[in-house]
């Protein structure tokens, strides 16, 4: 593939070890800005582990060792001087299962922003409305903002998690199988949302659902046994992949 224009995230020879076990081997990848990059591969291939290196969520796991570099906007994010909390604001994450706080919809959205020092009520209201609109949820919850978030449906809860991530104005949104716990209609709404979000944010999504990767992403990276096998435009990966292993995986012959 040609060199990426406008690279937002770059890894160089990235390897990761859980104790003695190597989970990622020498991954060099460039993620372009304001596009959706999908990470696909069979279970245990390292795609979620790789995703977590992009906002240092792996720091929270014991005995993890990383070699190589990860850059966001040309800044080494494993530099000791880096503010990791701010990194995780800039590089937000949405998980497979919605993980709302036991609070109202409103408070869930505004929680991170309050922590960042926004106290003005009018400003908070604006942020809540804007974030919920961006997450395509505003119309459904505007009349019950102060009711518990956990009372919403699964699909709504996941969009609320997305709104919460967007409220702190990230640049990048990482999504780890964001729709795998949802019904087909909620999944379709999340996919439409991703399509809209990429106009403003850089998105990296891990998915087991190849058809989803084909539908939502601009680029696709195929991982296998901790290695990056192929990375190219999604159209290419699903019509004419270069590597036989990639073709065998996307056609369902293994994995």
């Amino acid at each position: 593939m040609k060199e990426i224009k406008d690279c937002k995230i770059k890894t160089e020879n990235l390897s990761l070890f859980y104790g003695p076990k190597q989970a990622l081997n020498n991954i060099s990848l460039e993620v372009p800005s304001q596009k959706v990059t999908a990470l696909i591969g069979p279970s245990g291939c390292g795609k979620s582990t790789f995703l977590r290196t992009l906002n240092r969520m792996n720091d929270l796991i014991d005995k993890v060792k990383i070699t190589g570099k990860v850059y966001v906007d040309n800044q080494d994010i494993y530099d000791k001087k880096l503010d990791v909390v701010d990194l995780r604001r800039r590089v937000g994450m949405v998980f497979q299962k919605p993980n709302l706080f036991p609070m109202s919809t409103y408070d869930n959205v505004i929680y991170g922003t309050r922590l960042n020092g926004i106290r003005n009520r009018k400003k908070q209201d604006e942020i809540v409305e804007k974030s919920l609109n961006q997450a395509a949820l505003w119309d459904e919850v505007k009349d019950r903002l102060h009711e518990p978030g956990l009372g919403l449906s699964g699909g709504q809860q996941q969009r609320l998690c997305i709104a919460r991530t967007l409220a702190v104005e990230p640049e990048i949104v990482l999504m780890d199988e964001p729709a795998s716990a949802l019904d087909p209609i909620s999944t379709a709404k999340i996919e439409e949302l991703i399509h809209d979000l990429k106009k403003l944010y850089t998105i990296v999504i891990v998915t087991h659902n190849m058809q989803q990767a084909a539908r939502v992403s601009d680029l696709t990276a195929f991982f296998y046994l901790g290695e990056l096998i192929e990375f190219d435009k999604t159209k290419k990966i699903f019509t004419k992949p270069k590597i036989k292993q990639t073709e065998d995986y996307v056609t369902g012959r293994f994995g």
Partner: protein, 234 residues
């Protein structure tokens, strides 16, 4: 354990190969019927066209089912997309064989001046193109497919020459007009047969090499960056 999807693909390939054999034989018989003045053989070709049509429908149904129930990608997608158009082209070749057989049944005999025309040469080239395109599909042979593409120009040239010869024959002897016009049409039919064989060869190339070669061998890359730029502008 074999995947259900693989079983469906094998079913598709088997039906297509049977369709190929049948159509190949129809072409052979139709031309032989004319060359050896065999009316019974011509009738066999006409009667057997129903079988070709049945295969056409069955193959389309299998392709439709595969698309509806699966989401084929990469080489599977290319195979099934191409199967639809190959099937279509085979059915048309089958129709042409019937037209040639029916033309002979009307004439009831080989025109006396046939050896002055390029009929035999055209028949040989057209038969070979059909056979080669079918073999290329069965063997996944991109090189053989390319050979078929190059041969089409020869057939076109023979058709043009035939056209001129027949016009001259008609001018010289109006009594032969009916037979000459029939041969003119048959000549055109054989040229069309070559075009359909060429289409099949193009599809084989697409299946094997994942490249579209259409409109005089202009290569169109599947991942042409120009396509993406056009989409962005829209």
């Amino acid at each position: 354990m074999e995947r259900l999807f693989d079983i469906q693909i094998e079913k598709l390939k088997t039906r297509l190969i049977k369709m190929c054999s049948l159509v190949d034989e129809q072409v052979d018989f139709a031309i032989k019927a004319m060359e050896e003045e065999d009316a019974d053989l011509a009738q066999v070709v006409v009667d057997r066209d129903k079988k070709v049509d049945k295969y056409d429908v069955k193959i389309e149904k299998v392709c439709q089912k595969i698309f509806a129930l699966n989401q084929p990608v990469a080489m599977d997608l290319r195979l099934i997309m191409s199967s639809l158009t190959i099937n279509n082209n085979l059915e048309r070749i089958g129709d042409i064989a019937v037209n040639i057989a029916e033309a002979f049944l009307i004439l009831k005999k080989k025109p006396s001046f046939i050896d002055k025309t390029k009929f035999s040469e055209m028949a040989k080239v057209a038969k070979e193109m059909v056979k080669d395109s079918i073999d290329a599909f069965i063997e996944n042979d991109a090189k053989l497919a390319q050979k078929v593409l190059k041969t089409d120009d020869i057939l076109d040239e023979l058709n043009s020459e035939n056209h001129k010869i027949l016009i001259e024959l008609m001018k010289a002897d109006p009594a032969v007009i009916e037979e000459a016009v029939s041969l003119l049409v048959t000549s055109r039919q054989m040229e069309r047969m070559g075009d359909h064989a060429t289409n099949i060869a193009e599809d084989v190339y697409f299946i094997v090499e994942a490249q579209l070669i259409k409109h005089k061998y202009e290569k169109i890359m599947l991942d042409d960056d120009n396509d993406d730029d056009a989409e962005t502008e829209n």
